[in-house]
């Protein structure tokens, strides 16, 4: 027993069993160093979550829109004075003729529900969007038989009412707002109790067109999506063949000479040129020099093609390199020409890699904004769908990222919600494209 206690007290100052101070320090330094690494990754992931979270938090509400359900009596006397139910004649009654109908119907509904208010009927237009009258008119013109009936119409509420429902607008924030009063909000509250004000899925945000500054509740991404689609068609149609041909030449045919070197250096430098410089190129060459129309998806597509080319070339060359030389040798051995060995054997085997690179390049191009600013795709209010393929390429249009930028710059905070919502749509496209690229790679990737 005593031996043991003695042995305990006889531990030498230095031992390989107990840890000395220096080693402790070194181990602590080791722990710290690891902790820095974990902290760095955690910070990065936190930023990612914060970013995606704020996109979702701010943007999801754009997919819901507030409507006021009002029974409307469509008086044939005012809407179709001739009585022929002929849409051409009825079109003479402009949207200004429909606005009072909305106001009066709403006033009578408010009266019928026993809501007391000091707001005159013609002050009720602060509650609904200025495009609501046009929507009612379109509905009547497309179906003249509705005249004389009482229909339940969902009036698109203004962005203020919409914002009040979504918590963006409060009674304090409208104190200096001339377009709506607290009394209007009282009506809205009372209507909500009656169940006449509803929030619904906002299909118009996905399919609709951009609206003017004063009607954020009507603005949608649809037309800009078409602009992006036409741009991507140009990018795909040009950058895939050019990129693949260029890579085949550089990888399979190019002799080692000056020209090849220059091309190689050029491609790697182009990949690092800031995107805005490509915008300057587009402006100076395509618009000033060749006089292509401004804001046209064709020009946007051309600029983005030049920008995506390096990405596609680099991916394609990697894909071509990964095809083993034995394939080429075998083809040559059975009598194929060099060209045949490349186009019949190497290219098909490299295709999954090429497509993956192309999709990733397209995804980059889809989100690119800066060059589009310079060729005029921002500031153009895209209100109409193009009416044909030619006009889709040549007529001024917007594009998804340009539309988001446009909304972000507008003064009305209601547009910020739209911008976030637009980002969700854009990111859905990007994630889908990247997912397809990853799936392609997983499914077709070959290890030699």
């Amino acid at each position: 027993m005593t031996d043991a206690t003695q042995a305990g007290s006889m531990v030498p100052a230095k031992s390989i069993i107990s840890v000395d101070d220096r080693t402790k320090k070194r181990h602590a330094a080791e722990k710290r160093f690891q902790a820095y690494g974990i902290a760095a990754i955690a910070t990065g992931v936190f930023f990612l979550i914060f970013l995606l979270g704020s996109i979702l938090f701010n943007g999801v509400t754009a997919f819901q829109q507030t409507f006021i359900q009002v029974p409307i009596y469509l008086n044939p006397m005012t809407l179709d004075p001739e009585g022929n139910r002929d849409p051409a004649e009825m079109a003479k009654v402009s949207t200004f003729g429909y606005a009072p109908i909305l106001e009066n119907s709403m006033a009578s509904m408010i009266e019928a529900q026993g809501i007391e208010t000091d707001v005159e009927p013609d002050g009720l237009d602060a509650l609904f969007s200025s495009s609501a009258a046009a929507q009612l008119r379109n509905r009547v013109l497309s179906n003249p038989d509705l005249l004389g009936q009482t229909i339940d119409f969902n009036i698109l509420a203004t962005s203020r009412v919409d914002g009040y429902f979504k918590g963006r607008v409060s009674r304090e924030s409208i104190a200096r707002d001339r377009s709506i009063d607290a009394e209007h909000l009282d009506i809205v509250d009372a209507l909500r109790e009656e169940g006449s004000v509803v929030k619904r899925f906002n299909l118009a945000f996905i399919t609709g067109s951009d609206a003017s500054e004063s009607r954020p509740e009507q603005a949608g991404m649809g037309v800009a999506m078409m602009g992006s689609l036409y741009m991507m068609l140009v990018v795909l149609g040009l950058s895939l063949p050019i990129g693949v041909f260029a890579s085949i030449y550089l990888e399979e045919f190019a002799p080692k000479n000056r020209l090849t070197d220059i091309i190689e250096v050029n491609i790697s430098n182009l990949a690092a040129v800031p995107s805005i410089v490509f915008g300057i190129l587009g402006l100076a060459v395509f618009i000033q020099f060749m006089e292509f129309p401004q804001s046209a998806p064709l020009v946007g597509g051309l600029v983005l093609t030049l920008m995506t080319l390096p990405t596609i070339i680099i991916a394609t060359r990697a894909a071509l390199q990964s095809v083993p030389p034995s394939i080429r040798d075998a083809a040559l051995g059975v009598g194929a020409s060099k060209m045949q060995s490349v186009f019949h054997h190497v290219l098909p085997l490299a295709m999954p890699g090429i497509l993956t690179g192309t999709i990733i390049g397209l995804a980059q191009a889809l989100g690119e904004t800066a060059p589009l600013l310079l060729i005029g795709m921002v500031g153009y209010v895209a209100t109409n769908y193009p009416d044909g393929i030619a006009s889709g390429f040549m007529d001024p249009n917007s594009a998804m990222p340009a539309q988001i930028y446009e909304w972000a710059k507008r003064a009305d905070p209601a547009y910020y919600e739209r911008a976030w919502g637009g980002i969700i749509i854009l990111l859905v496209f990007l994630f889908a494209m990247n997912a397809i690229a990853i799936l392609l790679r997983r499914k077709f990737e070959r290890r030699w």
Binding site: A40, F47, F245, V273, A390
Partner: protein, 487 residues
Amino acid sequence: MPLFWLIGIVALMAAAGYVLGRGRAVSGVDGDRRRLHSLPSYYGMNVTLKVAVPALTLMIVWLIAQPIFVEMRVTGMIDGAAISDSRNADLVMSDVRRLAFGLDRAIDQGVLTSSEAAQLQVDPGAIRSTLGQAGVALGSEVTEQVLRAAQQYRLLATRGAWAMSVAVLLLAGGGFLLAMRQTDAEFRARNVVERAVHLILISAACIAILTTLGIVLSLVFNTVEFFRIYPASEFFLSTTWRPSFGGGSQLGILPLIWGTLYISLIALIVAVPIGLFAAIYLAEYASKEVRGIAKPALEILAGIPTIVYGLFALLTVGPLLMRIFGDGGLGWMQASTAVMTAGLVMGIMLIPFVSSLSDDVINAVPQSMRDGSYGLGATQSETIRQVILPAALPGIVGAVLLAASRAIGETMIVVLGAGAAARISGNPFESMTTVTAKIVSQLTGDADFGSPEALVAFALGMTLFVLTLGLNVFALYIVRTYREQYE
């Protein structure tokens, strides 16, 4: 749309040519394919190529050359009288173009017939109202000369379009006949086709050179133009940036360079430590599972478009910083758009850029060096700090330089997040502006391209191009010169 029809017709001829050429070759040897020099499809391809390639090349060249030619001819019609002191030739020409475009629109919509448009008399009010019906608003008064020039412009443009259609179709037809005549059993179709494809491959590779050439030429020409009307010394040395579209602008680049560098510096201060430590952890410590999750997660940050970061800066980070450093908090910040806002968000954007490049470099250090260090009793962190990092340093410096070049060229984040005031100040909570943001603001206004206020954007673009290119070349140089060659 005649152009689309033209392309369609040529494409149709090319497709028909394939079938006919192939058929002719096969029938020429009575269906005995072994007597042909090449596979039958090469004969078809030969016809297709000879129809499409020269015709479409001519079309593209014509489309580029015609406006220049028409412009030259029409500019000759406008003499000194129309170009009074306040209106230069460019402005008059843009009037002419506008009027010509308006007449086209009017004809499209049936407001005018083409013969009416050609014989239109000078009656400014009437022209204005006619074009107004077609939805074209005219800027300035229409003078006799402008109207004549516009009519001439339209005439030349229409004639040119017709001449192009005829020439393209003739060329396509000629190619078709030539190729068909060539087709017989002895014809070496494969060799001809392969030579043509080879040329097509080379020209595709040359697009990269053309793009660079286009960038350099468009920047150089306009920059020279700018320095002709604005002194270069002022541009490079003045510390005031005050463009005014009425004239008398002060366009000194220094405040913009300062803003650019300041924002980039903050971005790098955020991105480099986080990116580097993340890369070290992922390469040296992380288990396979952690790496499999954390690496793609960080790379998502790189795939998010910059407009999203811009909006994030403007609407989330800016107000957040404002709450901490603004009037309610520390009182350092006046507006939510500031150097700090843009720098912080740009830093987040650059994290994956630094981390994945450094990750590659660290992974490239051979395992034997780690083992040697462990064998001497070093801990893992000592090995990393004293063996791996020094070995990987050139690559890491290269990665940081590339990240810096990205930061300098970044546009959307600074356009939305940094503010618009050009100033030189040390306070990171003040709003400043950058070269890229000013390129956007100078070129998206309504200024005409002849004014120094618009041309300055090209000089700024040139500066940016040289700066980023220089950084890239420098990064490559460092990596190449100081790289340790293992194995």
